[in-house]
C-alpha cells in the first residue's frame, strides 16, 4: 500500500470514530439554528410591528430577543464548535476519537441545559446580563456537560500520533480551555459572589468579548488554517509567522473587552486599555491575512470551485471586517456617534455569524459527506444556502452600517424627538427582518440537506466513490 492510500485508510478510521458524536452535535446545533433563527426573526419583527406577539408575557421583546441570542450562541454556536473541534482535533492528532459514548451524554446534558436556559429566559428567570441571561442553575449543568466534551478534545490532543502541532490545533486547544474559564469566572463574579456597582458591566463586557474572540473566532480560524491548505493542495504561505499571529491575536484580544465600555461610568483606563488592545489586534489580523491570503493567491479559481472554501472565504473576510469594526468602535469620536445603535450590534453579529457560523457551514459541507459516505442530496439547496448566506452577509454589513450611522446621528441630534427617530428607523428595522428571513431560508435549505445526509434510513451510499479526494498534502510538515 502506498503512503497516501495508507493515509486515506487512517483518515477513514478517524472519520468512522467521529461519525456519531459529530452528527449528533451538528443535529442539535442545526435544530437550535432553526429555532433560534425563528425567535430572532420574530424579535426583529417586533421592532417595526410592536404589537406582534406583545400580548403574551413569554414572547415580549425583552425576553424573546435574548432567548433567541442564547439559543443561537449556546445552541447552534457551541454545538457546531464541539462537532467541528472534536473532528478536527482527531484528524490533526492522527488518532481516533475515543469514548464516543461519553460525548452522547455530554450532548444530552448540554442541550438539556440550553433548553432549560432558553425556556427560563422566556419564563422570566433572566438575569439580564448579556449572554449570561440563562437562569443561574443552568450554569452548573452547562459546565459539567462542557467538561465532558472538553476533556475528550484535550485527551485526543495529548495522545496525538504526530510530532508537530499544527496551527489549527493551537486555536482549538486554546479555545477549549478559555471557554470554561471565562464562563466560570463570569458566573462567580456576577452571581455567586457578585462584585459591586459598575464592576458588573466590566465583568460582563470581559466575558462577552472573550466568548466571541477567544472561543468563536479561534474555531473559525482553525477551520481557515485547516481547509485552505488542504483543499488547495498548498502549504500555508509564510507559515513561520502563524505562531506569532496566534499569540499576538489571543493575548491582545483577551485585553480588548474594556473597549465595549467607552463612555460608560467606569474608570477611564478600562476602555483605554481596550482601545489600545484593539489597535494592537490589527497586527495579528494582518499576519493572519498574510498567511491565509498568501495561501489563496493564484488559486482563487480553485477556491471558488470548492463550496467549503467559498464559505471559508466569507469567514476570513468577515474576520477582518470584524477587526476593523472593533477598531472603528474604539475610536472615541466614532463611538460617540454610533454607540448603542444597530451598528454596535453589527460588530458581534459579524464575529458570530459572518465569521464563525459561515466557517462552520463550510466545514460541515466538507465533513459530513466523509462521515456518512453519502453525497449531498440537492445541489439547488446548496446553492440556495450559499447564495442566501453571501447575500445576507453583504446586505447586513452594508445596510446596518448605514442604518447605524444614521441612527447614531439622530440620537445625538438633541433637537430630534425620540419618536421621530423610531419612525425614521422603522424602515431599517424592517430591512433587518428581511435579511434575517433570507438567512433563515438558507438555514432551512441546509437543514433539509443535512437531514437527508445524516438520516441512517436512506442508505443510498453510492456517493463515496465519487467523493473527490483533496490533493495530497501532509499538514505535519509545517511547524
Amino acid at each position: 500500500m502506498n503512503p497516501s492510500a495508507n493515509n486515506r485508510t487512517e483518515q477513514m478510521e478517524i472519520d468512522a470514530s467521529a461519525k456519531w458524536p459529530v452528527l449528533v452535535f451538528f443535529a442539535y446545533g442545526l435544530g437550535w439554528l432553526l429555532l433560534g433563527g425563528i425567535m430572532q426573526l420574530a424579535a426583529a419583527m417586533q421592532l417595526h410591528s410592536p404589537g406582534f406577539l406583545a400580548g403574551c408575557e413569554w414572547t415580549t421583546h425583552g425576553r424573546l430577543a435574548p432567548a433567541a441570542q442564547n439559543a443561537l450562541v449556546y445552541g447552534w454556536g457551541m454545538n457546531a464548535a464541539f462537532a467541528f473541534g472534536l473532528w478536527l482535533m482527531a484528524r490533526l492528532s492522527a488518532t481516533t476519537l475515543r469514548h464516543g459514548g461519553w460525548l452522547f451524554i455530554a450532548a444530552k446534558f448540554w442541550n438539556t441545559g440550553v433548553a432549560l436556559g432558553v425556556g427560563g429566559i422566556l419564563a422570566g428567570y433572566s438575569t439580564s446580563f448579556e449572554l449570561l441571561e440563562m437562569p443561574r442553575f443552568v450554569s452548573l449543568l452547562l459546565l459539567a456537560a462542557y467538561a465532558l466534551v472538553g476533556v475528550w478534545a484535550i485527551t485526543t490532543f495529548s495522545i496525538r500520533n504526530t510530532e508537530n502541532v499544527y496551527a489549527s490545533q493551537w486555536y482549538v486547544f486554546g479555545a477549549a480551555f478559555w471557554f470554561p474559564w471565562l464562563y466560570a469566572i463570569a458566573q462567580v463574579m456576577l452571581f455567586k459572589a457578585p462584585v459591586r456597582g459598575v464592576l458588573q458591566p466590566v465583568v460582563n463586557a470581559w466575558y462577552v468579548h472573550g466568548l466571541y474572540n477567544l472561543w468563536f473566532v479561534p474555531m473559525a480560524l482553525a477551520a481557515a488554517y485547516y481547509f485552505l491548505p488542504k483543499l488547495l493542495g498548498k502549504p500555508v504561505s509564510n507559515y513561520y509567522l502563524a505562531s506569532l499571529a496566534f499569540w499576538w491575536l489571543v493575548v491582545t484580544s483577551a485585553f480588548a473587552g474594556g473597549s465595549r465600555l467607552i463612555g460608560a461610568p467606569v474608570p477611564v483606563w478600562i476602555p483605554t486599555m481596550g482601545i489600545a488592545a484593539n489597535i494592537l489586534v490589527v497586527v495579528g489580523v494582518i499576519i493572519i491575512a498574510i498567511n491565509l491570503f498568501g495561501t489563496l493567491s493564484g488559486r482563487f479559481e480553485a477556491a471558488r470551485s470548492s463550496l467549503t472554501l467559498r464559505f471559508i472565504l466569507i469567514s476570513i473576510v468577515s474576520f477582518i471586517l470584524a477587526a476593523v469594526m472593533n477598531l472603528a468602535l474604539s475610536m472615541r469620536g466614532f463611538a460617540a456617534t454610533v454607540q448603542f445603535t444597530l451598528l454596535d450590534g453589527l460588530r458581534d453579529w459579524l464575529t458570530f455569524y459572518a465569521c464563525f457560523s459561515t466557517a462552520m457551514f463550510g466545514a460541515a459541507y466538507f465533513i459530513l459527506p466523509r462521515l456518512t459516505g453519502k453525497e449531498w442530496r440537492s445541489g439547488a439547496l446548496i446553492k440556495l444556502h450559499f447564495g442566501a448566506t453571501a447575500l445576507g452577509v453583504l446586505l447586513m454589513v452594508v445596510g446596518l452600517t448605514y442604518a447605524g450611522w444614521t441612527q447614531g446621528n439622530m440620537l445625538n441630534n438633541a433637537a430630534m424627538p425620540f419618536t421621530d427617530i423610531t419612525k425614521a428607523m422603522s424602515f431599517w428595522f424592517a430591512f433587518r427582518t428581511v435579511v434575517l428571513g433570507l438567512l433563515l431560508l438558507g438555514h432551512v435549505a441546509f437543514l433539509l440537506n443535512f437531514v437527508w445526509i445524516a438520516c441512517p434510513i436512506n442508505s443510498q451510499s453510492t456517493a463515496s466513490a465519487t467523493l473527490r479526494t483533496p490533493p495530497a498534502l501532509s499538514l505535519e510538515g509545517h511547524a
Partner: protein, 224 residues
C-alpha cells in the same frame, strides 16, 4: 510549536493576565466604593432603593427591559446626552451612582430612551400623576407616546368588569381608543406597581463634589 505543556502554559497565562489586569485591578480600584456623606445635610448618597423599587428592579430584569434601554448618561463632551432636548440627565453618570443597585444593567442599546434619570423627568406633575403616565405607557404605549415601538405589556395589568364591585381607585384613565370597553377597568398588578416604583426611583440628582472634580475635563489651556 511542538510542546503541549508550553502551549498550555501560554493559554493559561493569556487568560490569567487579562483577568488580573482588567477585572482584579478594577476590583481593587472601585470594588469598595462607599456612599458619600453630604457635609451639609448629613445624608448618605446614593440613597438605597426602597423595598418596593427593589422588587421592581427584578421585574425590570425579568422582562428584559435592558434589551432596548440603557441606564448610563455619557459625560459632557462625549455624545449629546446632556444637551437641551435630549436631557437624559443633569450630569453624566458616575461609578458611585451604581453602588446602590444589586444588579447593574447599564445596557448597550438605545432602541428606546435612556432610563437612568427617568424618575426625575416629572416636569410639574405630581408623583402619582407621573406613575399614572408610566402605567399608561406600559399598558398602551401609543396612548402617551404616539409612534413609539415600545411593546404593550398588558400582562402587567388586570382587566376586569366593574359591575358588582367597588371601582378601583388605581384604575387607569385611558382614552376611549385604548380603553378595554365600557364597564371594564384596567388595574395595575403588584408587578406593575413595583416596576413603576423602580422607574420612579431612577434619578441621580445628587452631584458628588469629589466625583464632579474627577469627571470634569481639564480646561483647555490657551495657546501661547
Amino acid at each position: 510549536m511542538k510542546n503541549g505543556l508550553a502551549l498550555f502554559l501560554g493559554v493559561f497565562a493569556t487568560l490569567a493576565l487579562s483577568w488580573a489586569g482588567l477585572l482584579l485591578t478594577a476590583h481593587k480600584q472601585i470594588g469598595s466604593l462607599s456612599q458619600f456623606k453630604d457635609p451639609a445635610d448629613e445624608t448618605l448618597y446614593p440613597q438605597p432603593l426602597s423595598g418596593l423599587a427593589n422588587q421592581g428592579r427584578l421585574v425590570y430584569q425579568d422582562l428584559g427591559c435592558v434589551s432596548c434601554h440603557t441606564q448610563q448618561v455619557r459625560q459632557q463632551g462625549f455624545g449629546n446626552d446632556l444637551a437641551e432636548g435630549r436631557k437624559w440627565g443633569e450630569r453624566g453618570s458616575y461609578a458611585r451612582d451604581y453602588i446602590r443597585d444589586e444588579t447593574v444593567l447599564i445596557g448597550q442599546n438605545r432602541i428606546g430612551p435612556d432610563l437612568r434619570n427617568v424618575g426625575s423627568r416629572l416636569g410639574d406633575a405630581k408623583a402619582e400623576e407621573y406613575a399614572q403616565w408610566f402605567y399608561k405607557l406600559l399598558y398602551a404605549p401609543q396612548s402617551v407616546a404616539a409612534g413609539t415601538n415600545m411593546p404593550a405589556h398588558p400582562f402587567l395589568f388586570d382587566v376586569h368588569p366593574v359591575a358588582g364591585r367597588q371601582p378601583s381607585p388605581h384604575a387607569l384613565m385611558l382614552p376611549s381608543k385604548f380603553a378595554p370597553g365600557p364597564g371594564r377597568e384596567v388595574v395595575p398588578t403588584s408587578r406593575a406597581i413595583a416596576l413603576v416604583a423602580y422607574l420612579q426611583s431612577l434619578k441621580d440628582t445628587y452631584d458628588y463634589p469629589i466625583e464632579r472634580s474627577r469627571n470634569t475635563p481639564a480646561p483647555k489651556e490657551a495657546g501661547h
